[in-house]
Symmetry: C2
Subunit: 293 residues, 2 copies
């Protein structure tokens, strides 16, 4: 069999954490990348990535990282993206495609329009919806994205070839790709991810502040563990998400409070039939979701 060239000859990952590291590991596992160079703030984390074979080298500097690079993945928290974009913008050559893995998209697009204006046709924003409480290169794994959703939010200026490359790379990682505009992305994620995280953090924080917190936690069971699993997520990352998607999260919080109003009214009036119907509708909607997943 002839040896075919990999999809990406050289990949530079800025931010070799769970997402960046798993992207590199997945492409490597499928022979879709020739060389991976890692760039990041934490030396220990980069060394771990090198030792695990997630990256082939650690870049001396940005210029070395970007030299001859086909694809750049920006995989740091959204709050750290602006300075990295500003730093690399002058070093990017016309053959380099750039993508990101940021959890919010309106803000990343706005940052790119500001800092990456010169190379906008080749910046393709994306969000792989995958994660875990774990973080860092040592948590990276080649199968993290398998069967999960990738949301691509291409811009009108994008080169078709750049969009195709990014899409193809994530499909090779096993992701199911949806395309939407950044506003729709941020609305959807606010409802099914950002709001639940806020609600989960709020419950744990409220209970932890009570005088009898120790007894409460001692008797908490599996339902509590699952409801609060996302309250184990990175506070720094969720601070950034709340900052960048604040308006939509506040809208969703309003809707949720209105739902709690309705539920409280049913509770106060002792409307058992009404409560049972609400619970059954929720259960049925969730069961339908589990079936189509």
């Amino acid at each position: 069999m002839p040896v075919s060239a990999p999809l990406v000859a050289k990949l530079a990952v800025f931010g070799v954490g769970l997402i960046g590291g798993s992207f590199a590991a997945a492409l490597k596992a499928r022979g879709a990348v020739g060389e991976v160079v890692g760039v990041g703030r934490g030396r220990a984390n980069l060394d771990a990535a090198l030792k695990a074979g997630v990256v082939d080298s650690i870049a001396e500097d940005d210029r070395a990282a970007l030299d001859g690079t086909d694809l750049v993945l920006l995989a740091m928290p959204v709050g750290q993206m602006a300075p990295v974009m500003a730093r690399i913008a002058p070093l990017l050559t016309p053959e380099t495609v750039i993508t990101d893995a940021g959890s919010t998209k309106r803000d990343v697009v706005a940052l790119a329009r500001k800092h990456l204006a010169r190379v906008l046709p080749r910046f393709v924003p994306a969000h792989p919806i995958a994660g875990a409480e774990k973080s860092g290169a040592s948590a990276a794994r080649a199968d993290l994205f398998h069967g999960r959703h990738l949301i691509l939010t291409p811009q009108s200026e994008n080169d078709a070839a750049a969009v195709a490359l990014v899409r193809h790379a994530w499909e090779i990682c096993g992701m199911r790709v949806s395309v939407m505009d950044p506003d729709t992305h941020d609305r959807v994620l606010s409802a099914v991810s950002h709001l639940p995280h806020v609600l989960s953090y709020a419950l744990v924080h409220e209970l932890a502040g009570r005088a009898n917190a120790e007894r409460l936690f001692a008797l908490a069971a599996g339902g509590f563990r699952d409801f609060t699993r996302i309250a184990g997520s990175s506070p720094e990352m969720w601070r950034d998400i709340c900052a960048s998607n604040r308006d939509l999260i506040l809208e969703d919080l309003d809707r949720y409070r209105a739902e709690l109003d309705r539920l409280e009214a049913l509770l106060r009036s002792g409307d058992g039939a009404g409560l049972e119907r609400l619970f059954a509708d929720a259960r049925d909607a969730r069961n339908r979701w589990l079936e189509i997943r």
Copy 2:
């Protein structure tokens, strides 16, 4: 080796669902019960229990079920407990100990004081904190209770021997036993179980009612699945729990809304440091809890 008599020669389970069936299965698996008779509303469910060997027979009537019985477990939803108590009260003999597995305890104790007044010293209320979205005898398993918490809420009138028998039976099932009064039980469970269930149902119900619900659910991921797992619970059971623990759930809902007020203020004012601190405090409290579990 001499053959020793089992702890319970004859056990009658009223309501052979997940909890009642698993209690019987656990005692059988450990040789702690001689004979198990099942009583319930649904014939198909009882037949399944018989076929699975969870019960040895299905009672012809209450008198047959209670004849020569050492231990009775009332394992139906709390909302169905009153009529069963009223029915069996005249048939109970002085050698029979009665316990229940109700999710709330103030109301069960009040019902027992009304309907089981004659045998109150031998009615020992308890709540095994274990469950799953699944229900019915076919979901029963001998290891359901292993390592979980059993809360015993003995009454001042209780015979010490009756309390010891109930405690011992649940310990044989592998449970860790705590003793508290019914009010404390209901307060603790409201905070770590009932409130989270209500919050989870509310989120799914609110999202399911939106025009773009299909798209929202299509892109929901693992965090959403875990947060909403308890919204897959039995609507009938949770209607009953909400009815019987209404005052305390409403108190906890008030506290939770106050926490959402604080969180919303941090969001609105763009207080990233305050949000990160709240999220970190919650994460740390949860991690400490996971360590001591």
